[in-house]
Symmetry: C2
Subunit: 152 residues, 2 copies
């Protein structure tokens, strides 16, 4: 968890692994003209430093029938209801992200649903049943042309 200043080699390794975490170390070694052992050492260091948090498979939600992605701006009646509201939102599996924000909304959430009908169901029968919510505003995402991670 300490600070560790990454160098160019670390950066290159990170880039490669962010694209494909299963790239063999031997291949990275060849690509960056170092040994596989060195790649291993660097990766371990970045894990230790808390830079690399884990490795996950990424799935195509569409292939699993989740077609609708939307953002919902939520306004609360009272700011003090924030923790309780988050807890309730966490119980709805369709809510995949939540942000506590400054600006127009108190909470900003991302919801994945199977269809417009399903989204409507989530909105009416789940989200809008939360007492503390005053109003919501929905932005349906038709397309996500950019989707990547920050690249230091």
């Amino acid at each position: 968890m300490e600070n560790y200043q990454i160098d160019n080699l670390d950066r290159s390794i990170l880039h490669a692994l962010m694209d494909n975490a299963r790239t063999p170390y031997a291949e990275l070694a060849k690509r960056f003209a170092v040994s596989a052992g060195t790649i291993h050492v660097r990766v371990e260091k970045m894990k230790q430093a808390g830079i690399i948090v884990g490795t996950r498979v990424s799935i195509d939600a569409k292939q699993l029938g989740y077609d609708v992605c939307c953002f919902i701006g939520v306004n609360l009646k009272h700011a003090r209801d924030y923790p309780a509201t988050i807890e309730q939102l966490e119980g709805f599996e369709e809510v995949v992200e939540a942000y506590y924000t400054t600006g127009n909304y108190s909470i900003f959430i991302k919801v994945m649903a199977r269809s417009i009908d399903h989204l409507q169901d989530v909105l009416i029968n789940k989200i809008q049943t939360i007492e503390a919510i005053q109003s919501t505003e929905t932005l349906i995402s038709l397309q996500a042309p950019i989707m990547r991670e920050v690249m230091p």
Copy 2:
């Protein structure tokens, strides 16, 4: 890319790999009481079906000095400027996600920055230099209490 109806075993494997893509197949095999070969076959099938898209390391942007996360609602002067605007936004590494949305904004983007100063710089010297943009509205995220993927 065809349709493939996943069963409970597939779902369990998916859950495990979404949490940690490096879980050895032998361990999953023990956990789900099947053989390692079966795990392998199922994973390959889900790859073939386009359900598993790839594996990526997840990094902690904070550890790399990216402290500020924000959303920006963008309004365009003309809807026809959409493709060109996306192209320009793509050139700014701080723009990590972009959505084409219905509702209050034409485009909705997520931006990661090193600091409030850096964010201001991105806003003024990058995003707002795009001719086609009429107005923007910024929501700064103070916290992200929920962050997960959809779990079929």
